[in-house]
């Protein structure tokens, strides 16, 4: 599903932040991506999401070589990936319901075709009574769940989450982890970037550990 071959990344003329990254992830897998701050976790996630090009090496996503793909095809590949940002990136002028429905709307689906799905998903993540609320009045945990709901509403084959528990208390972090595990059971491959060891200890999943720009699978 995801294959990195000898991937390296540098910003401008600076030193390589990622060196010789090699890994192969199978469909339906669950991984933590970890390492100290500044180790390159977000950069790796951005490459997985095709918003950053490697300076060397090859990346294959869903069996397709990503370099030099036309923008429309890259957009199509992105539709198969859900991403949860550390800072949520919810649009302030849209309600929770509208934020979650956004991917389906940009896919060109009619509102009638996804109205019930969005409502059900919001209820499932515990935001049934916050559907008409705007992000500015949501708590950190609610925003995080809304962001996760938006990432999974399009039934992605791969879910990327960047520090999804960074802004929530331990109790909420556990609930969110259970949510990711549940999604994984439903068939979605999951990669969670985190440096929260407590969180990782609660789930027996392989870890992609970044250290000094190199990746090791433990």
């Amino acid at each position: 599903m995801i294959r990195f071959d000898n991937v390296g990344l540098r910003y401008g003329l600076g030193p390589e932040v990622l060196k010789d990254v090699d890994f192969h992830l199978l469909p339906g897998s669950f991984h933590f991506l970890t390492g100290p701050s500044g180790a390159g976790k977000t950069s790796l996630l951005r490459m997985l999401f095709m918003s950053l090009k490697p300076t060397r090496g090859q990346i294959h996503l869903f069996g397709q070589y990503c370099a030099d793909l036309p923008s429309a095809e890259r957009a199509d590949l992105r539709r198969r990936i859900g991403i949860v940002f550390q800072d949520f990136r919810l649009l302030d002028h849209l309600t929770t319901w509208e934020n979650v429905a956004l991917p389906l709307r940009v896919f060109g689906n009619s509102e009638a075709s996804y109205r019930d799905d969005v409502t059900d998903l919001l209820k499932w993540v515990g935001l049934g009574d916050r559907m008409t609320a705007y992000p500015e009045v949501l708590s950190g945990g609610e925003k995080q769940r809304a962001a996760i709901a938006r990432a999974v509403i399009g039934k992605p084959e791969l879910l990327l989450a960047d520090e999804p528990t960074g802004n929530v208390d331990p109790n909420m972090a556990n609930r969110l982890l259970r949510l990711f595990i549940e999604l994984n059971r439903l068939g979605t491959s999951v990669i969670i970037a985190t440096h929260d060891f407590q969180l990782m200890e609660q789930c027996d999943a392989p870890r992609l550990v970044l250290h000094e720009g190199r990746l090791e699978i433990r």
């Binding site: 918003s51 991403i83 990136r89 649009l91 002028h93 319901w97 991917p103 940009v106 938006r150």
Partner: protein, 346 residues
């Protein structure tokens, strides 16, 4: 409240000021209309789930609307003024082109009245001449009054007599033939076709129109620069929306289209506000001119000098062109802005 106002948004804040006048303002449909033109429809009244993807009323969007409305107003004002000058110049030129003057020198035998009558009769028979108006001795003298004053000495002078002739602009007479005929039939008769005066007037009016166009080009350039710059600023504040749309899998064309729609609406709305403002100014101009000129003879002279100050309908059509140009400019700038931001992600 009429239904048409019910969905319009009025963001005007009146603070704690109270009173019947202010209450009247609050409920004024005209303020509701202006408010809706600037702010767009109410956020709360839309169908659930149908919110525009691009934020309809952001601070940057409102600032952009105000900038566009002001620049649109100035552009319409300038284009209207240039059109009006050009229109007046054409009218002046047409007026002077439709008249010639025949000068009859005083005759030695003191029978100038007879000579004027004969020349007038001769001219009236010529084709292409609509009206022949011989000026009396007093009228000819009045023309010299500004230079010689009102004195009896004037009557002692051999003042030539003038015959004003209005020619048919559609089929003008052959002036060379008329000139030759007059010279062969009468002594001391000269035809003045105002050629020198026309040349000078043409130079003046052309200079005015060219000057006006130069000002229009400057205002146009300032309008374009302001709108492009303000749209870019507004686009920068929408960067997060572009980013999110990009990350949820929207195609570039979809994102560009959403922003084009948004900025086209802003451009049309703000451009219309500017054009309406300029229309109001031009509609009020004849009234202001009438008040300034004081009425009566002075008003007539003032009107002759500066024209009617009425903008013809082609002038108002120009405002429509200005609005279209502004709207297209906003749309195209936003499109380039979207692609520039997306390029940084690819």
């Amino acid at each position: 409240m009429p239904r048409v106002w019910s969905y319009m948004r009025v963001d005007l804040k009146f603070g704690d000021i109270s009173g019947r006048w202010v209450d009247g303002l609050k409920t004024s449909p005209w303020l509701a209309l202006i408010g809706s033109l600037i702010n767009g429809p109410l956020r709360g009244k839309r169908r659930p789930g149908s919110a525009p993807i691009v934020q309809p009323a952001s601070v940057a969007g409102r600032a952009l609307t105000v900038v566009i409305a002001i620049m649109g107003f100035l552009a319409c004002l300038t284009s209207g003024a240039v059109f009006m000058v050009s229109q007046s110049a054409d009218e002046w030129f047409a007026d002077i082109s439709s008249e010639i003057t025949v000068q009859v020198s005083p005759a030695e035998d003191n029978e100038i009245e007879k000579k004027v009558t004969l020349v007038s009769l001769f001219l009236a028979k010529q084709s292409g001449i609509v009206k022949v108006s011989p000026l009396s001795e007093e009228e000819s003298g009045e023309l010299l009054e500004p230079w010689l004053g009102d004195s009896d000495a004037l009557s002692a002078l051999p003042v030539p007599r003038l015959i004003a002739i209005e020619i048919d602009r559609e089929s003008p007479p052959d002036l060379a033939v008329i000139r030759r005929s007059l010279e062969s039939n009468f002594r001391g008769v000269a035809v003045d076709d105002h050629r020198r005066w026309k040349t000078e007037l043409r130079t003046v009016t052309r200079s005015m129109v060219i000057g006006g166009f130069f000002v229009l080009v400057l205002v146009g350039a300032a309008t374009v620069a302001s709108i492009v710059s303000a749209t870019k600023s507004a686009m920068a504040s929408n960067r997060e929306i572009i980013e999110v749309l990009h990350f949820v899998g929207a195609r570039e064309r979809f994102i560009a289209h959403e922003f084009e729609k948004h900025f086209l609406t802003i451009g049309i709305r703000a451009g219309l506000v500017g054009a309406l403002g300029a229309t109001f100014v031009f509609l009020m101009l004849p009234v202001v001119m009438r008040i300034l000129s004081g009425g009566g003879l002075a008003a007539a002279e003032f009107k002759q000098f500066v024209g009617t100050a009425i903008l013809g309908w082609p002038g108002y059509l120009l405002f429509g062109v200005v609005v279209i140009v502004i709207a297209v400019l906003c749309m195209v700038t936003s499109r380039f802005g979207v692609y520039r931001i997306l390029k940084s992600y690819n």
